[in-house]
């Protein structure tokens, strides 16, 4: 982490500047071709998922075992081993994909160190390994088949630590096209036409935001990618940054061109060292090849990207707090207006988009706004990445067209609830979102519908709960989170979260009275309507939505000291009876 990022004026390290050269479109195409040629020299490619979930379930040891097997057989020139980005079914890691020329790809789940050499035996020598056959994942499996990968399209096959790998799959072609053929107005218009909306949660139309920054007067403008993904249970941005960092950088560069910025920052959550490491490497590789930095792709466009690391503050996901943090201050939100689009970092107009939003840009430019807009609903276009977790059979990272129903996600992609228990609710949007009960299983997952149901799309956390989850306890859990993460600047959020948490604790420990429910509801409204920033405005959602759909569960806690899910221990008694 020591050599990340400089200030807005910090130059690159001297040694690197000297090797930095300018690359034109022809050279880019040549680079892609030579990488493809190189890859074709291998008879077999072993793709090992090297994103955090797989690593933590032992992918590195598996890779090691496979490498030893390859070396033992002397097959280094025939077999290429690649650490790739995320495949999706994270709970089934480590995942290994085998690509043998002229044969369909095969994916294995839960590969162990013992099984690793067996993969070689099976695919190169035709040995029969029933244990492996049992761990084969089919592409027809609904988990894969139901998805529509627009952003994560390449992440499972490319090597996030090599820019050649990205370029070979069409990387930086979009930036090249934009620089060569389009004006900034046209880029903004194209993005607007695609109907892309901010993936950070609020769903503001991206094209409109870009155009606002483009039009804002100001000498120095900035582009910021928000990778401070703080929702517990959500890891879409981390996966994207780890799996396909160049895609994010290219999207940012296109945004820089569109709004007239020469400096970008990518703000990475402090808990994501691997993402930061890969982004750092990606930036260095892109700069060395003239795909970032000065005179990009032999044009007049200059764009630098620096990484800024968060240091453990959820509120820094809020755009004004994030800017404070980038400037090295306490990450406390500041009142808007002025909006960042007019006055942001160091007073300059600043474009802030979520990392995933930038990930969508390449698809829009290369395949066209119309293609992109063919996915999704009337008002919400494209696809959205969700982190599917909780009590479903298949957990992991999924990208689905917006407008898919919750039922399809839970019962088809997710493979239903574990142990065939009943579905109780799905929590979307983390601590800013709400719970969707079973009666709305057929609701479409889009910005408007979710909002109507009292939840939000959020950044894309999706936690499925069965009848063993206690709603007041879940609400208390999220409120504890918000209480710890409240920055303390504005009164309603600072004091309100603490008091809401206190009441929810009383409900779950048996010392609440019915009057507390009204107090709780009032506090929800107060904090929601009067807080300074988005954290406060949305943090009552988990409470409010569970109160709305599961009120009888709250009442049974209070009146009967009975927790239907069997979670709460009623150790206390109310002080006051009526």
């Amino acid at each position: 982490m020591a050599n990340l990022a400089g200030g807005p004026t910090a130059g690159t390290v001297k040694g690197e500047q000297s090797v930095m050269n300018v690359m034109n479109r022809q050279e880019l195409l040549e680079m892609a071709q030579s990488e493809l040629d190189r890859q074709n020299t291998f008879r077999c490619r072993l793709l090992i998922c090297a994103s955090t979930p797989c690593i933590s379930s032992g992918a590195l040891a598996v890779e090691d075992a496979m490498r030893k097997a390859v070396e033992a057989e002397g097959l280094q020139t025939e077999i290429e081993m690649v650490g790739t980005g995320c495949l999706g079914p994270c709970s089934r890691g480590p995942l290994v994909t085998v690509q043998v020329q002229e044969e369909p790809d095969v994916i294995y789940e839960r590969v162990t160190v013992e099984l690793a050499p067996q993969i070689l035996a099976k695919h190169l020598k035709g040995a029969s390994v029933p244990e492996l056959d049992a761990r084969m994942l089919s592409y027809d499996w609904p988990f894969f088949a139901k998805q529509k990968k627009l952003v994560l399209s390449e992440s499972s096959t490319l090597n996030p630590e090599r820019i050649e790998s990205y370029v070979a799959r069409g990387g930086y072609m979009a930036l090249g096209q934009v620089l060569r053929e389009m004006t900034p107005e046209e880029v903004c218009a194209e993005v607007a036409k695609s109907g892309l909306r901010g993936r950070g949660g609020a769903g503001f139309p991206t094209g409109l935001k870009w155009d606002m920054v483009r039009k804002a007067p100001g000498e120095r403008k900035y582009v910021v990618a928000n990778g401070d993904e703080g929702d517990p249970g959500a890891y879409m941005d981390r996966t994207l940054m780890e799996s396909d960092p160049q895609r994010v950088l290219e999207g940012m560069a296109i945004a820089g061109f569109a709004v007239g910025a020469e400096q970008g920052f990518i703000y990475v959550r402090g808990e994501y060292p691997l993402a930061a490491k890969r982004l750092e490497k990606a930036i260095r590789q892109a700069e060395r090849r003239g795909l970032l930095g000065s005179r990009i792709l032999d044009s007049k466009f200059n764009f630098r990207i620096d990484i800024r690391m968060g240091a453990g503050a959820f509120v820094c996901g809020e755009e004004t707090a994030l800017m404070q943090s980038i400037m090295g201050r306490r990450g406390q939100p500041v009142p808007r207006p002025p909006y960042p689009a007019n006055r942001g970092l160091w007073g300059g107009p600043t474009l802030i988009n979520n990392v995933e939003t930038f990930g969508n840009i390449i698809c829009i430019i290369l395949k066209g706004a119309d293609y992109y807009a063919s996915f999704g609903t009337d008002k919400s276009k494209g696809a959205k990445i969700f982190a599917l977790a909780g009590k479903v059979n298949n957990t992991g990272l999924i990208e689905v067209p917006i407008g898919i129903t919750l039922r399809e996600i839970v019962y088809e992609i997710g493979g239903g609830i574990r142990d065939c228990r009943p579905f109780k609710a799905a929590q979307t949007g983390g601590p800013s979102g709400g719970c969707i009960p079973a009666e709305h299983l057929d609701a479409q997952m889009d910005y408007e519908t979710l909002q109507k149901l009292g939840s939000i799309m959020g950044s894309g956390g999706l936690i499925v709960m069965d009848d063993q989850s206690c709603m007041p306890d879940v609400a208390r859990f999220f409120m504890e989170f918000c209480m710890d993460e409240s920055c303390g600047k504005c009164g309603p959020c600072r004091g309100g979260t603490v008091q809401m948490h206190r009441i929810l604790s009383k409900i779950t420990n048996g010392s609440a009275i019915m009057e507390d429910l009204d107090t709780l509801e009032d506090l929800c409204l107060l904090v929601k309507e009067t807080s300074l920033c988005g954290l406060g405005n949305t943090c009552p959602n988990p409470v409010y939505s569970t109160l709305r759909y599961f009120r009888e569960e709250y009442e049974s806690h209070i009146k009967d000291h009975y927790c239907p899910a069997g979670v709460c221990q009623f150790t206390e008694k109310p002080l006051r009876s009526a």
């Binding site: 503050a313 306490r330 500041v334 009142p335 207006p337 209480m483 710890d484 993460e485 409240s486 920055c487 303390g488 600047k489 504005c490 009164g491 309603p492 600072r494 004091g495 309100g496 979260t497 603490v498 008091q499 206190r502 107090t519 009032d522 506090l523 107060l526 309507e529 009067t530 807080s531 300074l532």
Partner: protein, 239 residues
Amino acid sequence: MSVVTLTIDDKLVSAPANTSLLSSIQEQGIDIPTLCHLKGLSERGGCRLCVVEMEGNPRLFASCVTPVAEGMVVRTNTAKLLKYRQMMIELLMAQRNHVCAVCVQNGHCELQTLAAKLGVTSVRYDYMCPDLPMDASHERYVIDHNRCILCARCIRVCDEVEGAHTLDMGGRGVQSRVIAGMNQPWGTSRSCTGCGKCVQVCPTGALFKKGSSAAEMVKQHDFLTWILDGREKKIWHWR
């Protein structure tokens, strides 16, 4: 300077563009509660007491940080706003140990006065009773964290008017606390000039002069506008 017209509580008024809604409201003689706002200091927008309803917008707006705009229709005193303001005051009172009876500023306290004005005669929330210290290490002043409402007026005046920046906010959330220097005893901070501006702008009994006893501390902050006016117009230059 351009002028905009807006409606405040059914009354058509005009105001210079780029000024705050709060100043327009106050100009109408409307008594709107504020705590973190103080004329002469930058706006923090933290206490949220000055929230108003805006026609055609479901959100509430803190008027101190909302610029006036043409055609705005604003309500400053609805039943909902009163209810929210009461709740905000109660939340503040529950957070620290505000024992008015034994406070140096009893009778002159902005929090106490606002509570009475808004009809807050009891607090419906649990008192949090944090165990907070008092720092009497300064030669002349005392800071009592038990009575602090985190309005940050002291921090702003120290930075913006005195220019010492001895004070700042430490910690986060409900654990936030006004700190001096490296969270060291105030009296040992060498950047403090002992000017006492922080004491004078503090709305509660959190900052007071040493030796004051219950109800003895009366504060005045007109010096602020006076100093700032003088600085801006440079009327005091004796050379």
